[in-house]
């Protein structure tokens, strides 16, 4: 009878197809790192947008800010929550890095995990790194 052959073949096939799941079960997967809030960002508690919106959309926000600053010379952003921010990545107290002081723990940890490589820092400088 061919029945036995077919069943064994099916079992091997299912095992092989699901191999990524087996692989994940035996190896440790790294949990996504949480961006760490340090210094001013920790006490301030108010960012431009809600936390989850910020996580999902910060890149489009930065893109919008760049056009506004460079093309329209509008440099102040008053957010929906009433706070105003200096539309700048790294210059001054009221910029992104002015509040989120540690670039490595805030930007890089997630970007590295997600293997995205934004080229912001090819030109923009982290004031902490210039010594």
């Amino acid at each position: 009878m061919n029945k036995n052959y077919i069943i064994t073949g099916l079992v091997i096939f299912v095992l092989a197809v699901l191999s990524p799941f087996w692989f994940n079960m035996i190896t440790d997967t790294q949990a996504a790192p949480e961006p760490e809030l340090l210094g001013k960002a920790k006490t301030e508690k108010k960012c431009v947008l809600e936390k989850y919106e910020m996580r999902a959309n910060h890149m489009s926000l930065l893109d919008e800010w760049r056009d506004s600053v460079v093309r329209d010379a509008d440099r102040m952003y008053t957010a929906a929550n009433g706070h105003s921010f200096n539309m700048s990545l790294s210059t001054g107290e009221n910029s992104c890095l002015g509040c989120h002081e540690d670039k490595a723990k805030f930007c890089d940890s997630c970007h590295t995990y997600a293997s995205v490589d934004p080229y912001c820092w090819e030109c923009h400088t982290n004031p902490k790194e210039i010594k």
Binding site: R66, D67, S68, V70, R71, D72, A73, D74, R75, M76, Y77, T78, A79, A80, M87, S90, T91, G92, Y119, E122, C123, H124, T125, P127, I130
Partner: protein, 274 residues
């Protein structure tokens, strides 16, 4: 028992499909009304504004020392690389040797004959032969670089400043070919190893983009005068060309001034008091 016909099933299925399809649109429309509506983008308080920015350079007040101070102040504040700078081998190992033809400059000294080739008189006053002239981007009214740029990385701002969005520059250098003043420089290599002291208030550039004077747009936005004006000891004045009361217009009214390669029709905004 109700008997379902094929027809009634299809009707219900069709209505359900429309509902499912419309849901995202309704969701989008309802979320938009309370989304980004309350955000406001505005210029800084106290920013210097003009209808058309222009510059007047008093050549009588320009000495070699003033030139040096101005160039240094500008280049330092904007992280312009100096290829004579000795590279820090530890930080930047294996840096290629420098080709000095690839210099980057925003404002620099030029001789009269190069700055004003169309004003070559047979018996030119002798003092002009070795007088230092400061040249930079002229922020032309009809800027040829703006027309040449295929990505609109170079554009003319409403206040007359010819500005660059370095993010958008693809390094094609059409603008460099278009500019009759040589005001633009290309980054043939990563400039960072050649910046003596990186200033954190202005970004550096990356390899493959063009750069030039931005009339210190970042300082005007804070209500401050450009670096060259501050370092010039009164030789350079920047102001609104369209405002007849402004300092630049008063100076233009009182003195004889020339502009570079005026016959090309680019309408430069930088004037030289002779």
């Amino acid at each position: 028992m109700m008997k379902k016909s094929k027809r009634s099933f299809l009707k219900v299925a069709g209505i359900a499909a429309i509902g499912l399809g419309a849901f995202p649109a309704i969701h989008f429309a309802s979320s938009d009304s309370h989304g980004t509506a309350h955000t406001v983008k505005s210029p800084n308080e106290g920013a210097l504004l003009a209808h058309r920015w222009g510059m007047v350079i008093d050549t009588n007040k320009i000495t070699d020392e003033v030139v040096e101070n101005i160039v240094e102040a500008c280049h330092k504040a904007h992280n312009v690389p100096d290829f004579n700078h000795e590279v820090d081998e530890e930080k930047y190992p294996k840096t290629r040797p420098v080709n000095h033809k690839q210099e980057v400059k925003w404002i620099w000294e030029e001789g009269f004959h190069y700055a004003f080739p169309d004003k070559e008189d047979e018996f030119l006053a002798e003092r002009f032969h070795d007088l230092p002239f400061l040249v930079t981007c002229n922020h032309c009214k009809n800027a040829p670089c703006v027309k040449a740029c295929p990505t609109q990385a170079t554009f003319k701002r409403e206040d007359g400043i010819v500005l660059m969005d370095f993010h958008r520059c693809i390094g094609c250098r059409f603008c460099m070919a278009a500019c009759p003043y040589g005001s633009r420089s290309f980054n043939f290599r990563d400039p960072r190893p050649f910046i003596d002291e990186t200033v954190s208030t202005f970004p550096t550039r990356s390899k493959g983009v063009v750069e030039k004077c931005n009339l210190c747009a970042e300082r005007l936005a804070k209500g401050e005068q450009p670096h060259c004006v501050e370092a010039s000891e009164g030789a350079i004045v920047v102001g609104d060309l369209e405002d007849p009361e402004s300092e630049v217009r008063v100076l233009l009214n009182e003195h004889y001034t020339i502009r570079r390669k005026q016959s090309l029709g680019t309408e430069p905004s930088v004037y030289y008091i002779m």
